[in-house]
Amino acid sequence: MSDAWIIVLAVGIGTMVIKAAGPVLLGGRPLPDRVQRVVALLAPALLAALVATAALSTGNQLVLDARIIGLGAAALAILLRAPILAVVIIAALSAGVARLVGVG
C-alpha cells in the first residue's frame, strides 16, 4: 500500500472514532474542564505552526521567498473578507507574479 493510502485509511478511521466517541461511548457525559480547554487550543496552536512552516521552511531550511509575498496578499484578502478560494488564488497569483519578476 502506498503512503498516500496509509494516510487516508489512518486519518479516516481515526477521525470517525473521534467523532463517534461522544455519541457512541460517552453517551453525553461531559469531558473534564481541563481537557476541554486544552483541546480547544489545539486548533490555534497547530494552524499557526502550519502557517509558519508552510510559509518559511523548505525541508530543514528556513527560507524567505515569494511565498511570504503570497501570504501578505492573503492576509490583506482575509481582512477584506474575501472567500477562502479567492484568498488561495490571490496568494498563488501574487507569489507567481513575484517569481516572474524575479523577487524571491
Binding site: V11, G28, L46, A52, L93
Partner: protein
C-alpha cells in the same frame, strides 16, 4: 408545551439552512482537490477517498501540506488527528440528543462538522439531531463534489509550481487560523505554536515541528 416539529421538517430545514455554507465548503473542497493533484501531492483518488471518509477541511489540508513538505506519513496522520481532536467535545455536546442505537449514532456522528453543528444548535446547549443530519448531508456532498471538481480542474492546470501554488498552503491556514484568534489565549497559543515550529525546523524531520507545536495548547491547563 408544543409538540416537537416533525422529523422531515427539521431534516429539510437543516438542508436548506446549509446551502449558503455548502457553497463555501464546495469552494474549499475545490482548493483541496487542486492542491492534492499538484506536484508532490497525494494524488486524485486518495484525495477523493479522504474527503468522503474524513470530511474535515483543516485536517485534510494539514495532511496535504505535510505530504507536500516531504514529511513522513506518521507526521501527517498525527497532525490531522490532533486538529480533529476538537470533534471529541463537539461530539459529546450533541450525544444526548441523538436517537437510535450505537450503529445509528455512529453514522449520525460522522455528519458532525463545525457548520452542521452550528446549524443544529437550539441554544442553551440543546441540539436538533435531524437538522444536524439534513445540514450534514448537504455539506458532505458539497465537500465531496468540490474535491472531485478540484481534482479534475487541477489536472487540467498542468504543473502548478510555477503558478505559485506553494503559497496557497500558508494562505489557507491563515484563513483558518484567523477565526481562532478571538480570545487572547488563542493569540498567545498561536504565537507560541508558530515559534515552537520555526525553532524546530532546522533540527526535526518535516512534519514533526507541527506536531510539537500542539504542546502550546497545554497553556489551557493554566486557569485564566
Amino acid at each position: 408545551m408544543t409538540s416537537p416539529p416533525p422529523i422531515r421538517f427539521e431534516l429539510r430545514r437543516g438542508a436548506i439552512t446549509a446551502v449558503p455554507l455548502a457553497i463555501a465548503v464546495g469552494l474549499f473542497g475545490i482548493s483541496f482537490g487542486v492542491l492534492s493533484v499538484s506536484t508532490g501531492g497525494m494524488g486524485a483518488l486518495p484525495a477523493i477517498a479522504m474527503s468522503a471518509s474524513t470530511f474535515a477541511g483543516s485536517a485534510q489540508f494539514a495532511v496535504a501540506s505535510v505530504v507536500a513538505g516531504g514529511g513522513q506519513p506518521i507526521a501527517a496522520i498525527a497532525a490531522a488527528l490532533l486538529l480533529n481532536a476538537r470533534y471529541l467535545p463537539i461530539g459529546v455536546s450533541v450525544a444526548r440528543f441523538m436517537p437510535g442505537g450505537r450503529l445509528r449514532r455512529f453514522i449520525q456522528a460522522q455528519l458532525v462538522v463545525d457548520e452542521s453543528w452550528a446549524i443544529a444548535a437550539d441554544g442553551e446547549g440543546r441540539f436538533d439531531p435531524h437538522r444536524l443530519i439534513g445540514a450534514g448531508i448537504v455539506l458532505w456532498l458539497a465537500w465531496l463534489v468540490g474535491t472531485v471538481i478540484g481534482v479534475l480542474g487541477g489536472e487540467a492546470l498542468g504543473d502548478p509550481a510555477a503558478l505559485g501554488l506553494d503559497a496557497a498552503f500558508p494562505a489557507l491556514f491563515l484563513a483558518l487560523l484567523v477565526p481562532q484568534l478571538a480570545s487572547r489565549q488563542g493569540v498567545v497559543v498561536a504565537l507560541l505554536g508558530a515559534a515552537i515550529a520555526i525553532a524546530l525546523v532546522p533540527f526535526a524531520p518535516p512534519g514533526v515541528p507541527i506536531i510539537a507545536a500542539a504542546g502550546a495548547a497545554l497553556i489551557g491547563l493554566v486557569k485564566r
